[in-house]
């Protein structure tokens, strides 16, 4: 199962756990499964079906906000600040 790192400000929903696991072949599936286990998580991280503005999702170190991005068994998912430039 993919490991998902939960931002500190949302860890209240996962009982304080920073790293959780969830099954799923795509990012969408993983998030949906996570939300089933920790209700409300998806709403904190996503809005109108897209990742919340100001955040980016990285899968195995690569920024990708595509919900149908495939996720492997040993993938690592993070929610990081959306850094953009000047």
């Amino acid at each position: 199962m993919a490991t998902v790192w939960i931002p500190p400000l949302v860890q209240g929903l996962t009982g304080g756990r920073q790293v959780v696991e969830a099954p799923g072949a795509t990012l969408r599936d993983v998030i949906d499964n996570l939300d089933a286990e920790y209700p409300g998580l998806k709403g904190r991280l996503f809005e109108h079906g897209r990742v919340r503005p100001g955040i980016s999702v990285t899968v195995d170190g690569v920024v990708s906000n595509k919900r149908n991005r495939s996720v492997r068994e040993d993938s690592e998912i993070h929610f990081v600040p959306a850094i953009s430039g000047g």
């Binding site: 790192w5 931002p7 500190p8 400000l9 949302v10 920073q18 709403g43 904190r44 991280l45 809005e47 919340r52 503005p53 100001g54 955040i55 990285t58 195995d60 170190g61 690569v62 920024v63 990708s64 690592e76 993070h78 929610f79 990081v80 600040p81 959306a82 850094i83 953009s84 430039g85 000047g86």
Partner: protein
């Protein structure tokens, strides 16, 4: 689209023929002869000229606006206020400078119910001359109810601070807190156990830092011409880093379909992140609509640029780090409060990543706050948030190393992140070149050169920038003489026409001079994210690579037809298409395109994800005059991992420019306000950016640790260079006079005060 790194092509096949050379830029003749057309150089038939009325107050409610007298001035054709803007709900759009709420943008473009900073635009006039427009502006009567302003970031966070935006609530990752506030958001990163981490430290250093408001300082003021045509189509000519971003904002703010808006980017005289958001563009379109559909031009003067376009955040930063006696970092804690100007959106998010990014840490806590104040809305400025953050963290790193008695570069090496290490906010680093920059700095003659003389010191600092991929689209066609027209949508701020053309030439194995790049408008090419974020040579270059492969495929087809052989048998190398002994040159085929069938054209678009971050390590020698407090930069060396330098001269240029801005930020630049919130130094005389006398030649070392995520190994380079300078200069000042500076700028007055305070104690 699929990434095609493993397709046929010359990617990765060094030695390169074009990449790494230093040809002349394609727009060179235009730029050195004054022919290049920048924003303010645009002239159209029947054009009118606009002027803006701006708030004289830092914070006030607008109780009435009377434009009647202004409208009656002969020559005045239109007057607009926020009443002419459609009402916008909260729309969030990503400009590449971070997500922006367009309702706030609308308010910033023309004040809604309150003026929120000195210089906030309130109304605009279009007339037959700028002089008439400026006279008419003075006749607009605005009644203000003054409100107390708040300008300091910590003051604005207090419970009793004047409230700037009544409907603002603090959000924490989607959750809104109750109550009026100036704190727009709070972010946090955490790892391990902070208490445990600090308990394991032998030495702990904690320092507080303050940085002032600084402006991007581009020499070209904002300028735009808007034509709201009789058929409802809006065309905007403007100096911008990203025409598509401007198109999106104009269409959203004026509630027009995107297809009804065309943005034509002119040449741009500097941006650094400050020319991503709209200021004049919606206003000139509105004026044009009201002025009988005549084009309207507005150009800001320098005062307006400084008063009312985005500077970057002033900040309060507290950093605490612990290390063992043998130089291993055990824990770090950072608190960052960044002011966003009058509307939310400071770069505290990026800052929170930059501040600890270069170092391995098991235990850390970072809290960041985005806070609004009565200053112009902040805009991105080259590695937004990074310089302030690194100023703080690099000072603490330096202090730890000094206390332990370890060489500062050794200390950094001992704790440096490499591939596989985890960044402060979580993700694991892929191949990076930080350690390589530290080694290169250690081995550089500058680091070993003796530095003699009183009040002279040497400092080092490192810095990180994330970089960006973004979306790029290009189109290309082959001319009968074998040259290639390349249409791109990336405004050329620093030599990217050259670096992109070089990548196309290398891909197609043709001469650089045979590629003719053009920067075109939003109707003429597919979507392009802005030129900025250190993405253009990387991203648009990649699109050029992709289009080059497609063109070669097409040419192979033409060759197969002309040679009357199967397509599969065609090989291409060094400009020659061959099959079983028969061959045709690239130009031969190009000449015969007419007879062989159809023109050869192709387009490509990319959205690459593996952009890879940049790291830099800087060394600086300074001399401090103990009587005046003036700091002279004696010698400067900037080392940076650049992935692959496509055109080394322009890569060096990016390092030079970032260093110069960083030095200005370190030693002189800041906005000065009075107690009522008026900006006192809105001119280049008193907002003092570095001149040729303030800097020596700047040595650069381009370390090339190829980015595995790009066909030619390119890494973004433009922003990393501005991250280390302030920290390096501060550390050099400490080495010179034994005073640890904790505020920016470290101007003569503040240095003297710090010196005297130290003498007293």
């Amino acid at each position: 689209m699929t990434l095609t790194r493993d397709k046929k092509g010359v990617a990765g096949k060094a030695p390169y023929k074009v990449i790494g050379t230093r040809p002349l830029r394609p727009d060179g003749a235009d730029k050195v002869t004054g022919k290049a057309v920048y924003g303010a150089d645009v002239h159209l038939p029947a054009m009118l000229y606009g002027a803006m009325l701006r708030s004289p107050h830092a914070h006030a409610r607008i109780s009435s606006i009377d434009t009647s007298e202004a409208e009656r001035v002969p020559g005045v054709k239109a007057v607009v206020t926020a009443a002419d803007l459609p009402v916008i709900q909260d729309i969030l759009t990503d400009l590449g400078e971070g997500v922006v709420n367009l309702r706030y943008t609308s308010n910033n473009v023309l004040a809604h119910d309150k003026v929120l900073y000195h210089g906030h635009a309130v109304a605009a006039v279009a007339a037959t001359s700028t002089a008439i427009a400026e006279e008419a502006v003075k006749l607009i009567k605005v009644e203000y109810d003054l409100l107390p302003p708040v300008l300091d970031v910590l003051e604005a966070m207090k419970d009793d601070a004047p409230i700037i935006l009544e409907d603002l609530r603090t959000t924490e990752l989607g959750e809104k807190r109750e109550g009026q506030t100036n704190i727009a958001s709070h972010i946090q990163h955490r790892r391990g156990d902070l208490e445990q981490g600090f308990a394991a430290a032998d030495i702990i250093v904690e320092r507080e830092f303050r940085t002032g408001t600084v402006h991007q300082g581009y020499i070209e003021p904002h300028s735009a011409v808007g034509l709201y045509n009789d058929d409802g189509h809006v065309t905007v000519w403007c100096s911008t880093q990203g025409a598509f971003g401007i198109r999106n904002q104009v269409s959203e703010l004026l509630k027009l379909p995107v297809s009804d808006v065309t943005v034509i980017p002119t040449e741009i005289g500097g941006g650094f992140g400050g020319k991503l958001g709209v200021y004049l563009e919606p206003v000139v379109a509105l004026l044009s609509k009201k002025a009988g559909h005549r084009p309207v031009k507005m150009t800001m003067n320098r005062t307006e640029v400084l008063q009312a376009t985005g500077p970057t955040s002033a900040s309060y930063i507290r950093v605490k780090m612990g290390a063992t006696r043998d130089g291993k970092l055990t824990a770090a804690e950072a608190y960052l409060a960044y002011d966003a100007g009058a509307f939310p959106g400071s770069p505290v998010g990026s800052a929170a990543v930059v501040i600890l990014a270069p170092y391995k840490l098991d235990h850390l806590l970072i809290d960041g706050y985005d806070v609004i104040v009565n200053k112009p809305r902040s805009a991105a400025y080259r590695a937004p948030g990074g310089t302030n953050a690194a100023y703080a963290s690099e000072a603490v790193i330096d202090e730890l190393a000094k206390i332990i008695g370890m060489d500062p570069l050794e200390f950094r090496l001992k704790n440096a992140v490499t591939e596989g290490d985890r960044r402060a906010d979580g993700p694991v680093y892929a191949r990076i070149g930080f350690v390589e920059t530290l080694h290169a700095a250690q081995e550089h003659p500058h680091y070993r050169a003796p530095l003699e003389g009183k009040h002279r010191g040497r400092g080092v600092a490192s810095g990180f920038w994330n970089n960006w991929g973004g979306r790029s689209s290009v189109s290309a066609s082959i001319n009968p003489d074998g040259s290639v027209n390349l249409l791109e949508g990336s405004p050329d701020i620093g030599g990217t026409r050259a670096s992109i053309a070089m990548q196309l030439a290398e891909t197609m194995e043709i001469a650089y001079e045979d590629v003719h790049p053009r920067v075109v408008d939003t109707d003429s090419v597919g979507y392009n994210d802005a030129t900025g974020g250190s993405r253009t040579t990387f991203g648009t270059g990649w699109a050029a690579y992709e289009v080059g492969l497609k063109l070669i495929d097409e040419m192979k087809r033409q060759a197969a037809d002309l040679l009357e052989v199967d397509l599969e048998s065609i090989a291409y190398e060094n400009g020659i298409f061959s099959s079983n002994g028969d061959s045709l040159g690239f130009k031969e085929i190009a000449e015969r395109i007419d007879e062989s069938g159809h023109p050869v054209v192709a387009s490509a678009s990319v959205h690459p994800e593996e952009f890879g971050p940049g790291f830099g390590t800087h060394i600086v020698d300074v001399e401090v005059d103990p009587e005046t407090g003036k700091v002279e930069i004696l010698r400067y060396t900037a080392v940076q991992d650049v992935g692959k330098a496509i055109h080394p001269s322009y890569v060096e240029g990016q390092l030079h420019g970032g260093v110069a801005q960083g030095v200005g930020w370190a030693l002189n630049e800041e906005y000065v306000y009075d107690d009522e919130g008026h900006l006192l130094n809105a001119s280049f005389l008193d907002y003092r950016i570095p001149t040729a006398l303030d800097l020596p030649m700047i040595d650069t070392v381009l370390v090339e640790v190829a980015n595995p995520g790009h066909p030619f190994g390119v890494r973004g380079v433009g922003e990393t260079p501005i991250v280390p300078p302030a920290g390096a200069v501060a550390n050099a000042i400490y080495d010179a006079i034994g005073v640890r500076m904790t505020t920016l700028p470290m101007s003569p007055g503040t240095i003297l005060e710090a010196l005297w305070a130290q003498e007293e104690s």
